[in-house]
Amino acid sequence: MRLAVVDTERCIGCQSCMFACSRRQQEGGLASSCLGVKSIGGMERGFMVIVCRACDNPPCAKICPTNALTPRDGGGVKLDIAKCIGCGRCKDACIIGAVFWNDERDKPMICIHCGYCVKFCPHGVLKLEKTREVKQ
């Protein structure tokens, strides 16, 4: 299963999904959130909803010098936090900015595609899908 963005135009920018992600990790606030919602230069123009796309051959894992990030079955990556040295190369390698950074722990935050955030999107912006649906 992987997390997907259905339609960013439905997003009202409430960021409930970001808070849900933190809560799943037993935290409040946003330090550990693994997805992001921000305006496209002014809220009147709508929002970017940034989630891990679960790439088949993930650049973040390829660049990791310690094998802390490894490809996960079905797409995306797994993080072995014990191996991570916090170098930040994974973050730079993700061109959509979906490797988030926890400044308090100085470690990357990696989406595990659990879908908890989907339950807290009031307008159906997010969904979990089995395989990537390619729109024709």
Partner: protein, 586 residues
């Protein structure tokens, strides 16, 4: 209690000396929760008695609460300051991303004092505080442009608030607002002018801290309950659907909608500017504040041709809500949505409070109609009901204070009427221009006795429509009802819960959410704290020269019938007496 769950850090900023420091004050959050409760304590400490609102000594206090960042809809920031508009307690609430940004930058409150020697904007990114030179953006015509520039110049996209003032704030129009995230405001009582007097153009705050949770299991469960009750409640749904604009038709129907400076309370043209029409013809996007799943913010898309060449258009995204539609619409006799939107856009661009601006223009129009003022005063601008183009010119003249008359208008309707006459139709209560409810005595008495003279202090308009239409209340009963509501609202605003969510945050839910962050309070304790916070506000008002006997209620309020009949002056006098006795006990 364990204060690690509280937002105890207070950031102090001294603009005169470019200094800042942080103090930990858990005790004030323990005793007064946050928001309004904490802000009034800080205001008492920081604002010297008798302080001139435009002096460097007047503090700007911004406070959030212990639920902010943990529970949905605790999404407001409470600002307190001495108001340059009324010369007394200034309190204004704002959403957007402001509350989340302050909490996740690591603060429970921010206190700004002093005056910068040159235009400045403050950038607060977690524990890094920058005093940035704002000379280049000072005097810029549009507050929208200021927002764009700061967005490009600062980090923290998605996690930040950008509070900024327009030219109205720079020029100290006493009802200038502070805008955040383009569409939300610290609207009332002139916080923008206080920013301007400090040469503070903007305040950017960003942060993404984590927050500790005391009992993780019960927190998740409680969160889900609050969230589900918010998204499934029909009461909340109306804020998302048509938004507050849905009030236009029902208020018109009962005859409680102020039109043409409250000479009328219903008109056929209400159909043209209803919430339904706005949604059908103009609604372009709905937005939410951070950590609020409702999305009550309604933005209209207005497409206009430039006119100087073919096929050349601009599309403006302009906010609408009931109160600005009343103030920049119906009270000015404007019933064309496009006219309202264009006037609203101008008011937003300059950074004025839409409600005070509309009431000021409505008084000026009637004064012009009656010949109390002429084109000599208005510099040739013909003020006529419904004529939005001339209203736009008048707005520019107010901000630029182009002559003595517009200078007076820039100080509000009370001041203008004191200089030119027409007090009997200058619609304000204790110096603050009236909101859009002529529903009955409770609406007006509520604004009159409310600590910040806002319709949201105690929602008297609700008592009119729910109780007084059916049965009589004595003045004592009415004052008791209004105060009971206002006491409870001190708890909500101390937790910085949006008043739209008052049905979600019942006393039981409030107690439980507070329990989850370490407070052990009964519902009765909460009511007592609410009452105390309210009394603290009144004590500040009294300290700053508030006398209940100094009131003036314009005749128009009594002359124009409400849906429940004519508002009786004796009823008001009795209510004042009751309040006066109470104040002496506080």
């Amino acid at each position: 209690m364990n204060s690690s769950y509280l937002p105890s850090n207070i950031l102090y900023i001294d603009l005169s000396n470019n200094k800042f420091w942080i103090e930990e004050r858990p005790e004030v959050f323990e005793q007064y929760l946050g928001g309004t409760g904490v802000a009034i304590q800080l205001l008492k400490e920081q604002c010297p008695p008798g302080c001139d609102p435009f002096s460097p000594e007047n503090p700007i206090i911004l406070a959030i609460g212990p639920l902010t960042g943990l529970f949905p809809l605790a999404s407001k920031t409470i600002a307190m300051f001495k108001s340059p508009h009324t010369g007394n307690l200034g309190e204004s609430h704002c959403g957007g991303r402001s509350a989340i940004a302050i909490r996740l930058a690591g603060y429970g409150a921010i206190v700004i004092k002093g005056r910068s020697s040159n235009p400045t904007y403050l950038a607060i990114h977690n524990d890094k505080i920058h005093f940035r030179d704002a000379s280049t953006i000072w005097g810029m015509e549009s507050v929208f442009t200021v927002g764009r520039i700061i967005r490009e110049n600062e980090p923290g996209s998605g996690l930040r608030t950008i509070m900024r003032i327009g030219s109205a704030g720079e020029r100290e129009v006493t009802y200038a607002s502070v805008t955040t995230e383009t569409y939300r405001h610290f609207g009332r009582l002139g916080l923008g002018a206080v920013f301007g007097s400090k040469r503070l153009k903007a305040l950017v705050i960003s942060g993404k801290h984590s927050l500790n949770i005391k009992d993780k299991t019960s927190y998740q469960k409680l969160y889900d309950d609050v969230y589900q009750s918010a998204v499934n409640s029909p009461v909340m749904q109306k804020y998302h659907d048509l938004g507050t604009a849905e009030n236009i038709l029902p208020l018109n129907e009962i005859g409680g909608l102020p039109i043409k400076n409250l000479q009328l309370t219903r008109f056929e043209d209400a159909q043209k500017i209803s919430g339904e029409v706005m949604a059908r013809e103009y609604l372009g996007r709905r937005l939410a504040c951070s950590h609020c799943p409702i999305g009550c913010i309604h933005i209209a898309a207005l497409r206009e041709p430039y006119g100087d060449e073919p096929y050349f258009y601009k599309t403006s995204m302009i906010c609408y809500d009931y109160e600005p539609m009343y103030a920049l619409g119906t009270i000015l006799g404007i019933s064309e949505p496009e006219s309202y939107l264009k006037l609203m856009d101008e008011v937003e661009k300059r950074g004025l409070d839409s409600m005070s601006t509309g009431v000021v223009l409505a008084w000026a129009t009637e004064a012009f109609e009656k010949g109390i003022i002429t084109q000599n005063e208005t510099n040739g601008i013909q003020l006529r009901w419904g004529d939005y183009k001339n209203y736009i010119e008048a707005v520019k003249s107010i901000v630029n204070k182009t002559n003595e008359f517009f200078h007076a208008l820039a100080k509000g309707v009370d001041y203008a009427a004191s200089q030119y006459g027409g007090k009997e139709f200058a619609l304000s209560f204790m110096g603050n221009e009236m909101p859009g409810y002529h529903t009955g005595p409770a609406a007006h008495i509520g604004v009159f006795i409310g600590a910040r003279h806002s319709h949201l202090d105690n929602a008297g308009y609700g008592i009119d429509q729910k109780i007084l239409v059916n049965r009589h209340l004595t003045p004592t009963e009415l004052v008791e009802q209004l105060l009971t509501e206002e006491y409870w609202r001190q708890i909500l605003s101390s937790l910085t819960i949006c008043f739209f969510a008052r049905g979600v945050y019942t006393p039981k839910i409030v107690r439980n959410t507070l329990h989850s962050v370490g407070y052990d309070l009964t519902e009765n304790d909460l009511r007592k704290i609410g009452e105390e916070i309210h009394h603290e506000k009144y004590k500040f008002k009294t300290r700053e020269g508030f006398h209940i006997d100094d009131y003036h209620i314009p005749n128009r309020i009594f002359d124009t019938p409400t849906p429940i009949g004519q508002f009786n002056r004796d009823f008001l006098i009795d209510a004042v007496k009751i309040l006066k006795e109470k104040i002496s006990e506080w």
